[in-house]
């Protein structure tokens, strides 16, 4: 029996296709929770063939992908393996990986696929030394990265929560080990409230993951709209507002898939910029399909309409199909007389509406402010508690799950000795984020914090 591990195996760079690799006996069963093939389960699908599939989580389609199920021993690791080939780009790949991990896989340790490949006889003896040195170097690299990703504030807060968790657990243990000195009841007094507090703290921290990460890495953004509303001019205007384009020389943008665009202190990653420009040249059929696809690949939508004309059927369709997304409705051409009888705010629902003019640059600063608000920019940057590593986020979620279990147990009157099991599980998850060894902490805390013994 090997447990199921998963990782992005194509590297976290912008590329056409990204591969999420999932390996282990139950790889297909785990993937079946997020991969939906037409009319069948992946584990029943013909192996070693590509299948078209949707990657979904919680009913939401994350991406379209080509998925292949490689049956043991015909895979890199010689185990059952699923490879999900999705659209490249760090944002989307992490979304897909996150879904697979929540479905029951665990993140692969550095070098683990190769380790398994060797242990399963897939690599020959002469490669053993290379495998060992790879494991070592990848682990050292990963540890360094993890430390770098851990901002000072986060570790201080986590350490504080861990300290309190340990004190609680130690108190209960002291009562169990020396029942004539302490009672479990006194040791769990007020614990419920404390649990609630920790849960809020951990949740807040985990919640910064998406926004924080995007502020750090750039917000995947798509500009959509029917033809001739001014998408291209908007892009030009945005680029013109701040010449600090991070990648590529201006003028060659036509060929790039993604543009890094600095908007004040934030970075937008605008995908398919070539596509946006192209649309000027062609009589196009950019319909809802294409907008949906773009919407899936990005976190922020800038939906552009033409303020000088009434809403068209196409506009409405776009507004409707993207209403679940994080989006801003940009009413362009505000330098022209507005079309009569159009209530933009009403059609935009609760999303902010910003009147701009891509031609004159009017309203662009409002757009920037709106994006900052949308991403809690001020709040996030003032909070030092930003989590940017997916692994850290998952561990935070694990810790929360353990604490919720403890809460449930307390409510159900489950004995205290079981509650410490959950407390210590949370303690360990948080310890993994901090990269701390935990083996004898509990015993040490029992003796340090409580007067024990005969």
């Amino acid at each position: 029996m090997s447990d199921v591990i998963a990782a992005i195996s194509s590297g976290l760079v912008q590329s056409g296709i990204g591969i999420v690799r999932v390996s282990g006996d139950e790889a297909a069963a785990v993937c079946d929770k997020v991969v939906s093939l037409k009319g069948m389960r992946l584990r029943d699908a013909e192996p070693n063939r590509f299948h078209y599939a949707h990657i979904t989580e919680g009913g939401r389609i994350l991406d379209e992908a080509m998925v292949v199920f490689l049956k043991a021993p015909h895979s890199y690791t010689a185990e059952n393996t699923v490879e999900i080939q999705c659209h490249g780009g760090p944002y989307l790949m992490k979304q897909v990986l996150g879904a697979v991990l929540r479905a029951g896989a665990r993140p692969a340790e550095p070098g683990e696929f190769t380790k398994r490949a060797f242990l399963n006889g897939r690599l020959d003896l002469s490669q053993a030394e290379a495998v060992m040195s790879l494991i070592r170097s990848e682990n050292e690299f990963a540890r360094e990265m993890a430390m770098r990703q851990l901002r000072g504030g986060v570790s201080a807060v986590l350490q504080e929560i861990r300290r309190k968790l340990l004190h609680r657990a130690a108190g209960i243990e002291a009562a169990l080990d020396d029942p004539e000195h302490y009672t479990p009841e006194e040791m769990t007094e007020g614990l419920e409230a404390e649990l609630t507090g920790w849960l809020v703290q951990l949740k807040d921290m985990a919640d910064t993951f998406d926004n924080g990460k995007m502020i750090a890495e750039g917000i995947p953004t798509a500009i959509i709209g029917r033809p001739n509303v001014g998408k291209s001019s908007l892009l030009n205007a945005l680029l013109g507002e701040d010449r600090a384009i991070v990648t590529d020389t201006p003028g060659t943008t036509r060929d790039t898939l993604e543009e890094r665009l600095r908007l004040g202190p934030m970075t937008l990653l605008i995908s398919d910029t070539a596509g946006i420009r192209e649309t000027q040249d062609k009589i196009e059929q950019i319909g809802v399909d294409r907008a949906e696809k773009k919407a899936r690949e990005s976190d922020l939508l800038l939906l552009v309409t033409d303020g000088s004309r009434p809403l068209t059927k196409e506009d409405r369709a776009l507004l409707e199909s993207t209403k679940e997304k994080k989006r801003l409705i940009l009413v362009n051409k505000c330098d022209l007389p507005p079309a009569k009888g159009t209530d933009w705010q009403k059609s935009a629902g609760k999303n902010p509406v910003i009147h701009i003019s891509a031609r004159t640059g009017q309203g662009l600063s409002k757009l920037r402010e709106a994006i900052e608000t949308l991403y809690d920019y001020g709040e996030i940057t003032q909070k030092p508690l930003v989590v940017t590593s997916l692994r850290h986020k998952l561990l935070l979620e694990e810790a929360q799950a353990s604490l919720r279990e403890a809460q449930k147990s307390m409510a159900a009157g489950i004995p205290e000795d079981l509650i410490t099991i959950d407390l210590m599980a949370a303690y360990r998850s948080l310890g993994l984020i901090l990269g701390e060894e935990t083996s004898d902490d509990l015993i040490d805390a029992v003796f340090r914090d409580f007067c024990m013994g005969k």
Binding site: E112, I135, N139, D177, E180, G413, S439
Partner: protein, 638 residues
């Protein structure tokens, strides 16, 4: 004069050095498994002596006694013979930490154990101080020599030297080279061990004063009675058969005055003068330690516990000390109820040599000396129960070694004994090791109530459990299984009687039928109270009901732990070659190489628990093992 006497030499299979709680179990196991065994003691009158607390069991230690019993050891049966009070601790909390403790009549405990030893065929008691180990040319053990020069040739030696090696007792300015209770110290063996390349540690522990019960004013103390329903330690015994009158313990507290006296005299502690060296157990701090370390505590509990029915002596639990005699007098007299107490024995600290247990295999044999085993306080543990557990395992494994069989090694998921030994041989122990429930990561599975279910099979295989007892065990197991089946498949409807029953117990009425199992799981209900609406319930012993209740009620938690155990076992089964050279592995970090060499772990699992060995090192080791395997089997290329 026979030839042997002329040579001053005798022949045995196994020699056990020391007749405390470890030594007795080791010698009994060895002899019961058919080996001619000699057990040495510095005083034949001090066999299975309890030089400190007058009780057996308690939190997590009770588990150890139960496990010793399930494996066929003697401690459980013996305390059942000698107890004068029985108490189940932690009853308000989960069943995993229920823990049995019994007050012992110390003399009776010792006498009864001696009787068992004396009546075991092939087991012989010698009052003599062992001064030297004897070796074969290949370095394996050949026997022991006593101070008088007599040689006992044998094939295995088990060291159970307790606190006797170069022991020194200290209080105040008094420092004597004696063992516990003023017994003779063993002053010669340490140097023989060191000469054999064995690393020794210097540990210390202590014991409180004893006072004359006739001079105690019990009216100023709280009475602590035993349980009305006693619980036997041994799975062989029934509560009914052990009925007897119980005696009480008494609770009192130190006072502000006590603390004042201690603070005023703390500089007279031998710890300050440097007369005491060695590391004491954090679990049994002296009263001066407690007062210094926890200045915010206004008072500390003290329990007055009878030393036995034969004496008025009372043990002051909680007041271990090495302060001078006059300070001891003053502080004892500052305690309510002890104002006029006459002191029988002073408290003292004791320092002694023990082996660094990192030198041991999990079988308790030394890694470097074939046939030499060690158990108990000589391995750096503390406590009678910890000692007995190791003694039993060492005895079994010495016997198995002579039979050419693989050692009995319990892992952390099987027994507290497994946790105890694994901790001893895998961690850097800097103080006497005491068992604690928090050390057992799978404690939900390692309950005192199911020790027999976990371990009887091993005891039977080892040859220490009788056929009769084994058959009874199998019956019990079967009954539990069938009763769990039954409650799972027995449904109660929504009849009036059922709803009324639920209402009475503050439980939500049923909307549709439910199995008994589901009802047992409700926090406000339990197996026992459901009898009322469960007419088909078969009549089984109470222990069977108890197992059913626990298995059903905590099924979720138990299942989760079982899954963890499954993962755990995988790495335990991956054994590391005994001759592995970590320097040659490559890609291991330097710290890992040093630690791995220090502990020489048996399995990948054990290696993983060594502080300083990282997950990446473990991954590297796994790849290395596979590489070696392929090299040797010639399946290198594919």
């Amino acid at each position: 004069m026979t030839e042997n006497e002329a040579k001053r030499q005798s022949f045995y299979d196994i020699a056990v050095v020391g007749a405390g709680h470890a030594g007795c179990e080791a010698a009994l196991a060895a002899a019961r498994l058919g080996f001619r065994t000699v057990i040495f003691t510095v005083s034949a009158d001090s066999i299975a002596m309890m030089p400190c607390n007058p009780n057996v069991g308690g939190s997590s230690k009770g588990h150890l006694v139960r496990e010793v019993d399930a494996l066929g050891g003697e401690m459980g049966r013996n305390i059942d013979r000698a107890f004068i009070q029985s108490k189940m601790l932690n009853e308000s909390t989960g069943s995993a930490v229920h823990s049995l403790r019994a007050q012992a009549d110390k003399r009776r405990y010792s006498q009864k154990m001696r009787e068992v030893l004396e009546n075991t065929p092939g087991l012989f008691i010698k009052q003599a101080e062992v001064s030297e180990l004897l070796f074969e040319n290949d370095g394996s053990i050949a026997g022991v020599r006593t101070l008088s020069g007599w040689e006992y040739r044998c094939r295995a030696v088990i060291l159970c030297t307790g606190t006797y090696l170069r022991s020194r007792c200290v209080y105040g300015e008094v420092s004597e080279a004696t063992g516990p209770n003023g017994l003779k110290a063993a002053t010669h063996l340490s140097s023989s061990l060191e000469a054999a390349g064995i690393r020794l540690l210097r540990f210390k522990t202590g014991t409180p004063a004893r006072v004359d019960g006739r001079t105690i004013d019990y009216s100023r103390m709280e009475e602590q009675k035993g349980d009305e329903q006693i619980t036997p330690f041994s799975f062989e015994n029934t509560a009914e058969a052990l009925e007897r009158p119980q005696v009480s313990c008494w609770l009192t507290y130190t006072t502000e005055e006590t603390h004042e006296i201690i603070r005023a005299n703390i500089d007279r502690s031998p710890l300050f003068s440097g007369a005491i060296r060695g590391t004491g157990p954090r679990y049994c701090p002296s009263i001066e330690d407690k007062v210094v370390k926890f200045p915010e505590k206004a008072r500390h509990q003290l329990f007055l516990e009878p030393e036995g029915l034969y004496t008025h002596e009372m043990y002051i639990s909680g007041m271990s000390s090495s302060l001078p005699e006059d300070v001891q007098h003053a502080m004892i007299h500052s305690v309510p109820g002890l104002e006029k107490a006459e002191i029988v024995r002073n408290a003292y600290a004791i320092m002694y040599d023990c082996l660094d247990p990192a030198q041991l295999k999990p079988s308790l044999e030394l890694k470097t000396i074939s046939g030499l085993f060690s158990a108990g306080q000589s391995n750096g543990s503390s406590g009678y129960e910890e000692a007995a557990a190791q003694g039993l395992i060492a005895g079994i494994n010495a016997a198995r070694k002579l039979k050419g069989e693989a050692p009995l090694i319990l892992d952390r998921s099987e027994a507290y004994i497994g946790v105890l030994i694994d901790d001893l041989v895998t961690k850097d122990n800097t103080e006497p090791y005491r068992m604690m429930t928090s050390r057992a990561e799978y404690r939900l599975l390692l309950r005192q109530d199911n020790a027999d279910l976990r371990l009887t099979e091993y005891g039977y295989e080892a040859g220490l459990i009788s056929e009769e007892r084994y058959q009874a065990f199998l019956r019990k197991k079967e009954q539990i299984k069938s009763e769990i089946e039954r409650v799972r498949n027995t449904y109660v409807g929504t009849g009036e009687e059922v709803q009324a029953f639920l209402e009475r117990h503050g439980s939500t009425p049923l909307k549709s039928g439910a199995s008994l199992e589901e009802l047992i799981r409700r926090p406000e209900l339990g197996y026992e109270c459901l009898a009322e609406i469960d007419p088909g319930r078969p009549i089984y012993p109470r222990e069977v009901y108890e197992q059913v209740e626990i298995s059903v009620k905590y099924e979720g938690y138990i299942r989760r732990q079982m899954q963890q155990v499954e993962q755990f076992k995988k790495l335990e089964k991956k054994l590391l070659p005994e001759d592995i050279r970590y320097e040659d592995v490559g890609s291991l970090r330097l710290e890992a190489i040093q630690k791995l060499n220090r502990f020489r772990p048996r399995s990948i699992g054990q290696a993983q628990r060594i502080a300083g060995v990282s997950p990446a090192d473990i991954a590297v080791l796994l790849v290395y093992l596979e590489q070696q395997k392929r090299k040797h089997t010639g399946h290198g290329e594919r």
